[in-house]
């Protein structure tokens, strides 16, 4: 899955620093110059290399938000594991949800290389300080939602994540390579599940698929983050090689790709303004409801409270297990030493 463009960060309670205006030593300036050169040359930055504080903070925020999205993203799908229609679909869904957990873990590890701890990140999530992708604050009402999440939500995620494999911060880039390799299965299983219902299903099942597409289409487009004109942090992230392609550009790419896939599937998108523009060689599409987007980001989406409560409960309920495992390990090592 995917974290919303970090452009939301200016609004998540942490003021976005505009460049570094602090006084710096000659030593630091030299480090900065070397760093800029390496970025310009397309070099990767490794964990122990010198990096500007703002670069580090931006990455911690983006990678941890991304990790949170993977973890919270397990909830809407976990909702359907016990109700999957066949054993095959259940095994697939289990594997997919397990992958999301894995993706979260790769990403937490990558963020930890920047000097933040796992507990700090989880605490930020649990106290509502950290954001995760707004898409997971929508409910999964029918089985068709599982297919549509794979097709559209994971499809949008892939569109966003492929450029991150070339992110200048190497541990993040490496995690993304691994994630992208696995993500393709997520999208394909979703599409195939929908295609099965559309071609072999009943009228009611086809209507269920169309209904799911109607509900997920706009939130999927929002996953690319605010329009470029309202993404104040994008420019700096582009400069640093953290972000490679702009929100609007990625969104357009996604629309163009999915319109064709929808034709194969036999569904329509809930947008009367969606049509091919011969001049632009792209699809035009309707206005996104950014009020809804900011509402969901701000905690007022349909499932924000439920999702967060589920995470906090899992963490609290697991506390004794974590403590017991540590106590056991301590006992074993004393035994071994004796």
């Amino acid at each position: 899955m995917y974290t919303q463009a970090m452009d939301t960060m200016g609004k998540d309670g942490t003021p976005s620093e505009k460049g570094d205006k602090t006084l710096r030593s000659a030593d630091e300036l030299a480090h900065q110059a070397t760093f800029d050169e390496r970025i310009d040359a397309g070099d990767f930055i490794e964990a122990k290399d010198w990096m500007p504080e703002h670069y580090r903070k931006t990455l911690v925020r983006q990678i941890s938000q991304h990790a949170h999205s993977e973890i919270v993203g397990m909830l809407p799908e976990g909702n359907w594991i016990t109700r999957a229609p066949t054993l095959k679909r259940k095994a697939i869904l289990l594997a997919k949800v397990q992958d999301e957990a894995g993706h979260g873990l790769y990403l937490y590890s990558a963020a930890e290389t920047l000097g933040t701890s796992r507990d700090q990140m989880l605490d930020a999530l649990h106290t509502g300080k950290a954001k995760y992708s707004s898409i997971f604050n929508y409910p999964t009402l029918t089985w068709a939602d599982m297919g549509v999440i794979g097709w559209l939500v994971d499809g949008a995620a892939i569109m966003n994540q492929v450029p991150l494999c070339r992110c200048s911060y190497a541990p993040y880039a490496r995690a993304m390579v691994r994630i992208c390799r696995e993500e393709s299965f997520h999208q394909r299983q979703g599409f195939e599940s929908l295609l099965t219902m559309m071609t072999k299903g009943t009228d009611a099942q086809r209507a269920m698929v169309q209904d799911a597409v109607n509900r997920w289409w706009w939130p999927s487009l929002m996953m690319f983050g605010p329009p470029d004109s309202e993404s104040p942090n994008s420019e700096q992230s582009m400069r640093w090689g953290i972000k490679r392609i702009s929100n609007d550009e990625l969104r357009q790419k996604f629309v163009d790709a999915t319109v064709e896939q929808a034709k194969v599937l036999g569904v329509t998108m809930p947008d009367p303004l969606l049509k091919w523009n011969e001049q632009r060689q792209h699809h035009d599409f309707g206005e996104i409801d950014w009020n809804e987007f900011w509402q969901v980001v701000g905690g007022e989406g349909p499932c924000n409270k439920e999702r967060l409560a589920a995470r906090v409960k899992a963490w609290d309920d697991g506390a004794w297990v974590r403590d017991a495992a540590l106590a056991h390990a301590a006992k074993q090592s004393i035994k071994e030493a004796a």
Binding site: E46, K48, D49, W50, A95, Q98, D99, G102, L105, Y106, S109, E112, S117, R118, D119, L122, D123, H126, T127, R174, A175, R178, E182, V312, W315, D316, A319, R322, D323, A325, L326, H328, A329, Q332, S333
Partner: protein
């Protein structure tokens, strides 16, 4: 919330051998309470698609690394020792595969 959590499980680095004949290669890290759990979790996190036939884990705080700040001083002296490479030596065409 997490305020009451006393300690994190320690961090481990994970190395996976993709198949017999290859080196173990670093593939990431994870938290685990003890070595046995680290191996178990490494299997679940890093080899869900048969990416490995063998796993090593080592406590991250046990790894000793060279200093990235000394990278130049440490590795650059090898730059001008081209004679350590076979291509440095020009041989007659008939022996070029030597």
């Amino acid at each position: 919330m997490s305020q009451d959590s006393k300690a994190e499980w320690p961090l481990w680095e994970v190395f996976v051998r993709a198949k017999a004949g290859l080196d173990h290669k670093h593939c990431g890290s994870l938290h685990a309470a003890d070595p046995k759990m680290a191996i178990q979790l490494a299997r679940d996190v890093y080899t869900r698609r048969q990416e490995g036939t063998s796993i090593w884990v080592v406590r991250s705080d046990q790894i000793v690394a060279s200093d990235p700040g000394e990278k130049g001083a440490y590795f650059d002296p090898m730059e001008d020792k081209v004679y350590r490479h076979p291509t440095f030596y020009e041989l007659p065409k008939s022996l070029d595969h030597m």
